[in-house]
C-alpha cells in the first residue's frame, strides 16, 4: 500500500517538477544571467530561487540580486537583508554563524579548524608573522581549497582558515587579502548551491518568506514611527498585485515543492526501503548503469553517507580514507558502511566474486538504508515533539 502511494506521488511529482525547472531556467536566465559574476549562475539551475524571484517583493528581489552580484563579503554585509539571507543560508546548511567570523579571535578561529596539519600550519604562520608573497598566498589558498574539496576541512573550518589567512596578510602588509576574501565568497556560494541541492529548499523558502514578512513589517513600522504613512483619500484601499496565471502556477509549485520537501524525510525513508526492495529484485541503484552490483551498491551508499555526514568524497580520496573521514559523523550507520566498504574492496581489488559476496554487500546496503530511514524518522519525530 505504502509503495503504491509513493509511486503515485512520484508519478505526480516528476512531470510537475520537470515543468517547474524548465520554466524557471528559461525565465531566470533571461532575467538575471547578465548580472551574475562568472561561475555563479549555477545557483539558478539547481533550485527554485529563480521561481521565488518572480513572486518575491521588489525588496526581496533586490536583496537576492545583490547577493548574486556580490564579489566581497563587505558588499554582502552592506545590505542588511542580503547579509541576513546569506547568514541564514549558511547557518541552515552548516550550523555555523558566518557573521561571527569577523568578531572571533584568532584562537577561536583556530579551534574551529578540524584538520590538525592545517591548524598547525596556520598557527605557525600566525606566530611567525612573516611577509607572504602572492605565490605563497596562492599555494596556501590552494592547500586550503584542496583540503576543503577533499572533505578534510569542514565548511566552517575552511571559512575560519581563510579568515585567519586574510588577517595574517592584512597584518603583514600583503597585497592579496581581496583574493582570499573572494575565495570566502566563492565558498559561501558553493555552500548555498550545495544546500539547495541537498534539499534544503523548503527551509530556504520558509526562511526567505519569513525575512520578507519581517522586512515588510519593519518598513511599515518605520513609516508609522516617522509619520510617513501616506493616506490618500478618505479611506485606505488595499489592493492585491495583479499577477499572471503563470506566476500563480509557479507560486503553487513552490508551495507544493515546499510541502513535499518538508515531508522529504519520511518520503526519503519510504523511498529508501523501496530502493532496497528494487535492488533485491535486481534493479539498478544510484544511476551507475552497467557497473556490477557490488560497486553499484558501494557508490550508492557513498551518496547516502555524503548526505548524512556532509563530507563529499573527493576524486583522489580512497575508499578507506573516506571511511576514516566520516567515521565520527555516522553514528550507528558506520557499521554497515564499514562492512560495505570492505566488501567493495574485496570485490574491486582482491578479485573476490560470487553470489555470496553480492548477497553480503546487498545485506549491508539494505541495513544502511534501513538505519538511515530510522535515523531520519527519529529526527522528524524529534522536531515534531
Amino acid at each position: 500500500m505504502l509503495r503504491l502511494i509513493a509511486l503515485t506521488m512520484l508519478v505526480f511529482i516528476l512531470p510537475v517538477s520537470a515543468l517547474a525547472s524548465q520554466s524557471s531556467q528559461a525565465d531566470s536566465v533571461e532575467v538575471l544571467e547578465s548580472r551574475h559574476t562568472p561561475g555563479f549562475p549555477g545557483i539558478l539551475n539547481v533550485s527554485s530561487i529563480g521561481d521565488l524571484l518572480k513572486v518575491a517583493s521588489p525588496d526581496m528581489r533586490r536583496a537576492l540580486e545583490r547577493l548574486l552580484e556580490c564579489g566581497t563579503l563587505e558588499c554582502v554585509e552592506q545590505d542588511e537583508l542580503s547579509a541576513r539571507i546569506v547568514q541564514s543560508l549558511f547557518y541552515n546548511s552548516t550550523g555555523f554563524n558566518v557573521s561571527s567570523l569577523n568578531t572571533m579571535s584568532n584562537k577561536e578561529l583556530l579551534s574551529l579548524i578540524n584538520d590538525t596539519s592545517i591548524r598547525g600550519l596556520l598557527e605557525a604562520l600566525n606566530t611567525t608573522g612573516g611577509y607572504l608573497s602572492p605565490s605563497d598566498v596562492d599555494k596556501l589558498v590552494a592547500t586550503l581549497e584542496d583540503a576543503y574539496r577533499r572533505g578534510s576541512l569542514s565548511p566552517q573550518a575552511y571559512m575560519a582558515a581563510l579568515e585567519i589567512l586574510k588577517r595574517i596578510i592584512e597584518r603583514t602588509g600583503g597585497p592579496e587579502s581581496s583574493y582570499v576574501e573572494r575565495k570566502q565568497v566563492e565558498a559561501l556560494r558553493d555552500i548555498i548551491v550545495e544546500a539547495s541541492r541537498r534539499g534544503l529548499l523548503s527551509g530556504l523558502i520558509e526562511r526567505l518568506s519569513a525575512l520578507y514578512r519581517e522586512s515588510q513589517a519593519l518598513s511599515l513600522n518605520s513609516n508609522v514611527e516617522r509619520g510617513n504613512l501616506e493616506i490618500k483619500g478618505p479611506s485606505v484601499r488595499f489592493e492585491l498585485p495583479s499577477v499572471s496565471s503563470d506566476i500563480v502556477l509557479l507560486f503553487l509549485l513552490a508551495i507544493l515543492a515546499s510541502l513535499i520537501l518538508f515531508n522529504s524525510q519520511r518520503l526519503g525513508a519510504l523511498l529508501g526501503s523501496m530502493l532496497g526492495s528494487i535492488t533485491r529484485e535486481g534493479g539498478s541503484v544510484g544511476g551507475l548503469g552497467g557497473a556490477p552490483l557490488v560497486p553499484r551498491l558501494y557508490w550508492s551508499s557513498v551518496k547516502i553517507v555524503e548526505g548524512v555526514s556532509g563530507v563529499v568524497m573527493g576524486v583522489s580520496t580512497t575508499h578507506r580514507e573516506y571511511l576514516a573521514d566520516v567515521q565520527s559523523r555516522l553514528g550507528n550507520l558506520i557499521v554497515p558502511f564499514e562492512n560495505l566498504t570492505l566488501s567493495y574492496e574485496l570485490y574491486r581489488y582482491a578479485g573476490l566474486r560470487g553470489r555470496e559476496v553480492e548477497e553480503q554487500a546487498l545485506r549491508f546496503y539494505n541495513e544502511l538504508v534501513e538505519l538511515r530511514g530510522r535515523r531520519v524518522h527519529d529526527i522528524g519525530r524529534g522536531r515534531e515533539s
Partner: protein
C-alpha cells in the same frame, strides 16, 4: 610473521612505525633503503633493530672519505702458510648491510657499493661472486651537512627503492624516549630474532605474488606521468620509479596482511618511492618547494580508480 617484526620493532622504537614498515617493505621488494635525517633521530637504531629481529647476517660500515672500494668488497690476500692468494670477503657479503653516512665516502667507493646493490654481485680482481639472498643495503645520510660530504648523484639515488625521511619525534614521543632511553638500548641489545632467513625468503616470494588489479597499474602510471607534467618538475618519475611503486605497494600490502594492493598502499609508498627520483626546476627549488610536496600535490590530483 612479518607483522610480528613490525610489532616488536614498534614496541621498542618510539614513533618509528612507518619507517620500520617502509624498511621491511624495501626488503620484501628486493630493494635498498636510504634513511635520511639529521643526527640523533634513531636512524642507526632503527636499522639495527630490524636486522636483529631477522635472523640474517648483519654488517655495518661507517663511511669515511678515505674508505676504499676494497674495504667494502674485500680482496685477495697472500696466505704465507699455503703460499696462495685467498679471498678475504668484505662487509658487503652480508644479508643486511648498514652503511652509515653514505655521503661521507668518496664517489669511487660509493659507486663500488652502488654497483653491488644493483647487480647483486661483486667482482674482486676478475672473480665474480653472487651475493647471498636476501641482500639489502640500509644506508643513512644526513641532509644538512655540506662540508666533507659527497652528495649522491641522482642516478645513484635511483638505485634506492625508497628514501625514508626520519624526522624528530613528537613532544610526547620525545618525553617517552627520555624516560626510556636506557631501557631502549638494552632492549635492542637483547633482541631475539623472530624470523629465519627462510622465513624472509618466503615473505619475499609472498610479497611478489600479491595481486595487483589493472586499475592500480593505471593509477600508478597516472601518478608517475603527472609527476613529469608538474610545472615545478624538471625531471619526473621514470618507468623504474613506477616499477618501484608497484613493488613497494605489493610489499606494503603484504605487511598489512593483505594479498591484494589497494590505492591506499600506493599512496603510502608513493612519496618514499618517488621523491628522491625527481629533479625540480631551480626557480622552484630556490623558493623552497620540496619534492615531497610535489608528490603530495600529485596524489591529491590524480583520481583513484572508480567505480
Amino acid at each position: 610473521m612479518i607483522s610480528v617484526v613490525v610489532e616488536k620493532a614498534s614496541s621498542i622504537l618510539v614513533e618509528r612505525d612507518s619507517e620500520v614498515r617502509l624498511i621491511l617493505a624495501s626488503l620484501l621488494a628486493r630493494g635498498h633503503a636510504l634513511l635520511e635525517g639529521v643526527p640523533g633521530v634513531a636512524k642507526t637504531y632503527t636499522a639495527k633493530t630490524i636486522a636483529s629481529l631477522l635472523n640474517l647476517t648483519f654488517k655495518r660500515i661507517q663511511m669515511t672519505p678515505d674508505l676504499l672500494p676494497s674495504d667494502i668488497t674485500g680482496g685477495f690476500v697472500f696466505d704465507q702458510k699455503t703460499g696462495e692468494f685467498k679471498l678475504r670477503k668484505g662487509p658487503i657479503f652480508a644479508n643486511i648491510l648498514l652503511v652509515d653516512e653514505i655521503n661521507r665516502a668518496s664517489p669511487r667507493t660509493q659507486s663500488a657499493l652502488l654497483e653491488a646493490m644493483q647487480e647483486r654481485q661483486v667482482t674482486v680482481e676478475g672473480v665474480t661472486m653472487l651475493l647471498e639472498e636476501p641482500f639489502m643495503v640500509i644506508a643513512t645520510q644526513n641532509p644538512i651537512e655540506f662540508e666533507g660530504v659527497f652528495p649522491l648523484p641522482e642516478a645513484q639515488l635511483d638505485r634506492f627503492i625508497a628514501r625514508i625521511p626520519v624526522g624528530y619525534p613528537s613532544t610526547k614521543g620525545f618525553i617517552e624516549i627520555l624516560r626510556r632511553s636506557d631501557e631502549i638500548e638494552e632492549a635492542i641489545l637483547n633482541l631475539k630474532p623472530v624470523m629465519s632467513r627462510e622465513d624472509v625468503l618466503e615473505a619475499i616470494r609472498g610479497a611478489s605474488s600479491v595481486r595487483v588489479d589493472d586499475s592500480i597499474y593505471e593509477y600508478i602510471g597516472r601518478i608517475v606521468e603527472e609527476s613529469r607534467r608538474h610545472p615545478s618538475v624538471k625531471l619526473g618519475g621514470s618507468p623504474r620509479a613506477g616499477i618501484a611503486i608497484v613493488r613497494l605497494a605489493k610489499a606494503w600490502a603484504y605487511i598489512s596482511n593483505r594479498s591484494y594492493v589497494i590505492p591506499d598502499d600506493v599512496k603510502a609508498v608513493a612519496i618514499p618511492a618517488l621523491a628522491h627520483r625527481i629533479i625540480l626546476n631551480p626557480e622552484y627549488e630556490v623558493e623552497g618547494v620540496k619534492p615531497e610536496a610535489v608528490i603530495k600535490e600529485v596524489l591529491g590530483k590524480v583520481p583513484v580508480p572508480r567505480p
